[in-house]
Amino acid sequence: MHLPDGFLSPQLTLPALAVAVPLAAWGARRHFGREAAEALPVMGTLTALAFVIQTIMIPVPGGTSTHLVGVTLLALLFGPLAAFVCEGLVLLMQALFFGAGGVTVWGVNALAMGLVGPLAGWLAWRLLRRLSPRVALFIAGWLSTQVATLAVAGVLALQHRLDPLLFPVEPAVTLAAMMVPSLTVAGVVEGLYTVFAYSLVRRANLRGVPT
């Protein structure tokens, strides 16, 4: 799902970085300060789990690729801002140590997959958890993937509109190619993963996880 370097011009990557970097710095200060020492190991483990999950990628024609994100779980446990910082770290590690994704597109990827998607999932979970916790968890995971994918496809469409020579794929093609695997496969598996992993973390009753 996340974009590699070279797909977007600085017209889009620089404004995204201008939003994402201060937000990540603020989030890190808020969630990873001295008082957050208890939560850091669990967050590190869940971030590592998200990292491992995201390395399994399925390329899709006309867009980029699709995969699970695993960050919705962090948003539900620690809040959307903590999820954004953790996903930012996952993307940075992928770009710097493993050559996946990219550094110029870090802001766009982090905002789409770390903030917009998990925020939508977190809101859905807050709205629906009283009706049925398991259904709310599944919908949160599923919706988070759809919103994140839609955001990435939207940015690619905007790049095509701004400069078709830089990103030559038609927006309709990108949208269809990215959303179909996301709606049918990635979203469903992300929903199931969120239900399973959330129940596991709650049952384990780990130190540092807010109740």
Binding site: F7, P41, T45, F51, G62, L96, V169, A204
Partner: protein, 189 residues
């Protein structure tokens, strides 16, 4: 990752690399991109073979595959072939940025360059340790499953064993992460 004695030199190289990849991300002409690739190859001759191999393995197949799939898709939808130059530029741009990234990252000690940011270093170390631990534990659990079955385990066997194994992996990884985090905190990170 080769270590260099001066973290300030590493930070300068990282800064120059950042500027270069942002500039390259705006270049649309394949000739300019090919020239930039050649310059990068000449500038980072030491270990070039390994860098090229890494770029070819990780960046080129994805971008080339996506470009080819996109071309096919456009042909299917519109009935005609789109101009090839933008697709060529897209592939070249990603490859040159990848080449430059791998060449620079092989020359800097990233953790030393991050030394002024202790909290980021702590989180990075905890997370990287867990990535390796999770990979190792998952390989070991698959080996264990394989040894318990008289045949090669299929997707259903893996799925059946996944619940218990994931719970164990997660508990072990969290305990391990807590130990690392406490050890780093006691050393001033």
């Amino acid at each position: 990752m080769a270590s260099r004695p001066d973290p300030r030199a590493d930070r300068r190289l990282l800064l120059a690399w950042l500027v270069a990849i942002f500039v390259l991300s705006a270049v649309r002409d394949p000739r300019w991109l090919a020239g930039a690739g050649l310059l990068a190859a000449l500038g980072f001759r030491r270990g070039l073979q390994a860098t090229l191999r890494r770029t070819l393995r990780s960046v080129v197949p994805v971008t080339a595959g996506l470009s080819l799939a996109s071309l096919g898709w456009v042909r299917l939808v519109s009935g005609g072939w789109p101009p090839l130059e933008p697709f060529l530029a897209l592939g070249l741009r990603a490859a040159v940025i990848g080449l430059l990234t791998f060449a620079v990252l092989a020359r800097v000690d990233l953790l030393a360059a991050l030394a002024p940011f202790p909290l980021l270093t702590r989180l990075l170390v905890v997370t990287l340790a867990q990535v390796h631990a999770l990979r190792l534990l998952s390989t070991e659990s698959q080996e264990g499953l394989r040894s318990r079955l008289p045949r090669r385990p299929g997707p259903l066997d893996l799925l059946r064993g996944a619940g218990g194994i994931t719970a164990m992996l997660f508990t072990l990884a969290t305990r391990n992460a807590r130990d690392i985090s406490d050890a780093m905190r006691s050393r001033g990170f």
